[in-house]
């Protein structure tokens, strides 16, 4: 019986593989007693194949439904989904192309095409279902979503233009930014939409309250419709980041809050991006500028340049741009309200009323810490040890206030030291020393050192680090160095996260140690003891 069953299974599998599947009933025509067990074994094999992602055919061509349509195939007149006829391309963004389409009943819609590397998973489809339930006057409605032709297609309301288009209009007319009265109206509406998204909403989920972070607030995603403004593309970032094939990054660097670089999203992350957006729309400039590495560094550590704004607005915006998500405004609406009145007055009342209890308790300590930092900074700048180079190792960044016992909490602060020498000169000189092709000699991990293939190499050029493994380019990362630290810091972006590292240059030898992605502790030396997740790589200049 077992042999017979094996034969039947083999016939079934070979038929399937050859594209001529045989039904179970047909297979068991002469042996109906095997019908049940054959069915269960076929079900088991099908489940296994689904899990293994294994095609029963060796090299079967993809079916028409599986075949991926390229952007080139999108053309006016085509109906990618029954009832939706493409009219013209409206634009292209990080996630895909947007087309104007005529939907059922002759209504115009915007149809977004996002190429997929694979079918959306069950959780992503559930997330899309959640998005379809989101309705708010200031959110661009999603009318439908489909998977076909290798794309996720999302039909949305069609807007007149974006706030970036509006900014272009006003700057063309010689103005620096959108007039405040007009912009504040937009900001109030955007804030209402974001607050609605960001607050847990019982109407969105079946059982639990769900909140949505937009994660990509910028002028291009804010749409003008009939004089009002609506937020577009909400929720797609989260759904698509694992599935899209050609997205250039899961965030827009200029608007990204610092916590994104550390792999976190906070309830106030969208507020940060909204504040950056406000700076651009109001004053025509971004608070952090420069090359990507400098912008990232600015978000993480820098003080925003708010000189494009009137003085009365800067405090409100500065709070929305706080590095600490908890220190920002409780809601986007409160941030925008603060812009409409005198910033300093509103700051005081709202911040003390809404700060968490713990934060209120710590506030006196923090203020003292800030004073201490200021004193240390001034002392460093004007003191006798100026230009002597770094005296404090990075692990001393955590500063305890002296001689005050338990009364004062430890406060984590940024390294208060000003650069000991002119940073641009140091950076330029060090960048020049680092530039070039480096061949990897060894890797030390978990206490073990191993020689690595000599064709593994890294090209350092500008702020780019190109990793090539056996003549095949694997990745390009951006990196930032700080040669004023001891050991010298070398941080690279890995996706949306920062990999903290250190390096040392000894002639033609470069040693680079780094912590696991997302780990906030920078290595302090160039060792990787057993049990450690630090990786140490040694390179030799080519």
């Amino acid at each position: 019986m077992s042999q017979k069953l094996d034969d039947l299974l083999l016939r079934w599998e070979l038929g399937r593989r050859g594209g001529n599947p045989v039904s179970v009933d047909e297979l068991c025509r002469d042996c109906p007693e095997l019908l049940s067990v054959l069915r269960s074994q076929i079900a088991a094999l099908e489940k296994m194949d689904a899990m293994l992602d294994f095609s029963p055919t060796d090299q079967a061509p993809m079916s028409p439904n599986q075949r991926r349509t390229r952007y080139d195939d999108l053309r006016p007149g085509w109906e990618p989904i029954s009832g939706y006829r493409l009219e013209k391309k409206l634009g292209a963004g990080g996630f895909g192309e947007v087309w104007k389409a005529i939907g059922p009943g002759g209504f115009g819609v915007a149809l977004k095409f996002v190429p997929l590397s694979s079918q959306l998973g069950a959780s992503e489809i559930r997330s899309l279902d959640v998005l379809k339930k989101v309705h708010h006057p200031n959110l661009l409605s999603i009318l439908g979503a489909w998977q076909a032709h290798g794309f996720l297609m999302v039909a949305m309301e069609q807007a007149d233009k974006t706030l970036l288009d509006r900014l272009t209009e006003v700057t063309t007319n010689g103005q620096i930014g959108i007039p405040k009265a007009e912009l504040i109206q937009y900001m109030q509406e955007i804030a209402k939409g974001l607050d609605y998204l960001n607050q847990p909403n019982a109407n969105l989920g079946d059982s639990a309250k769900e909140a949505i972070q937009h994660r990509d607030i910028k002028p291009q995603n804010l749409f003008l419709m009939g004089g009002g403004v609506k937020i577009g593309d909400f929720g797609l970032m989260r759904i698509l980041k694992k599935t899209v094939t050609d997205h250039t990054g899961s965030l827009t660097l200029s608007y990204a809050p610092p916590e994104f670089f550390q792999g976190h999203t906070a309830r106030t992350s969208d507020q940060y991006s909204l504040a950056v957006t406000y700076c651009q729309l109001r004053g025509g400039r971004l608070p952090f500028v420069g090359n990507p590495g400098q912008v990232m560094e600015g978000h993480l550590k820098g003080t925003p340049d708010l000189t494009m704004l009137p003085e009365g607005e800067r405090a409100a915006v500065a709070r929305a741009l706080d590095k600490d998500p908890h220190a920002r405004w409780p809601t986007c609406s409160e941030f925008v309200n603060a812009l409409t009145i005198d910033g300093s007055a509103s700051m005081t009342s709202t911040s003390s009323a809404r700060r968490p209890k713990v934060a209120r308790l710590l506030l006196p300590g923090v203020l003292v810490a800030v004073l201490v930092i200021a004193v240390i900074s001034l002392a460093w700048r004007f003191g006798p040890w100026q230009n002597k180079g770094p005296q404090v190792s990075p692990d001393k960044d955590r500063v305890s206030l002296p001689d005050e016992g338990d009364e004062w909490p430890d406060v984590e602060i940024e390294d208060p030291r000003p650069p000991s020498v002119d940073p641009p000169l140091v950076m330029a000189d060090e960048s020049k020393r680092l530039s070039g092709v480096w061949i990897r000699q060894s890797i030390t991990s978990n206490g073990k050192t191993s020689q690595t293939p000599t064709s593994t190499q890294v090209l350092l050029s500008g702020d780019r680090m190109t990793y090539t493994y056996i003549a095949k380019q694997e990745a390009v990362w951006r990196f930032v160095i700080d040669p004023t630290k001891s050991p010298k810091a070398f941080d690279r972006m890995s996706g949306t996260k920062v990999v903290l590292g250190i390096y040392k240059l000894e002639g033609d030898r470069l040693t680079y140690a780094f912590s696991p992605t997302g780990d906030r502790n920078r290595p302090t030396d160039f060792t990787s003891p057993k049990g450690s997740k630090i990786i140490v790589q040694v390179y030799k200049r080519k």
Partner: protein, 206 residues
Amino acid sequence: MLSGTQMVESQTTRLQSYIDRLKAGDAKAKDELISCACDRLQRLTRKMLKSYPGVARWEQTDDIFQNAVIRLCRALNDTAPESVKHFLNLAALHIRRELIDLARHHYGPQGPGAHHDTGAGQAETPIAVASETTMDPGKLAQWSEFHKQVEALPAEEREVFNILWYHGIPQSEAATLLNLSERTLQRRWQSARLKIFQAMNGTLPE
């Protein structure tokens, strides 16, 4: 344009040439062999981690490759592959162990992924609720269990599994490589999958 089979045939030929070069003392041939194995590992790792964004938070794929490269380098230093079949089995073994270690390390009882508080305690609920809150150590452990069950297969079936799934070589090519008829190969493949399914009580990783 080459058909898939032709591509794999040329890959097999290429693998054989690397092995011949390695035997002749060409150290660079080792790099090429490792590259072939890492390509496959990359695909399998992505497949395994696709449903587990929590893992990506802790271990980026480039870090995994570094571990795999180290492991394969050591293996090739210890044992020079004698044939393509030998290399494919050796590489599959290390790919499998790397994936088992990955799951064990990150989603074992003491693994950081098992205890990580997504959102760092902030009062937010992400949109991708279903996937992001499924920080279920058991699910990734199922992958680990799957790889272990492959390890436990009879040698002949494991060899077929190694070549068809871990290396993604088409059945016709695999049959030639293993000097088997396609029906025999198919029988072993079928038997291997059913054994794994039964050993896992039908509970498979998604």
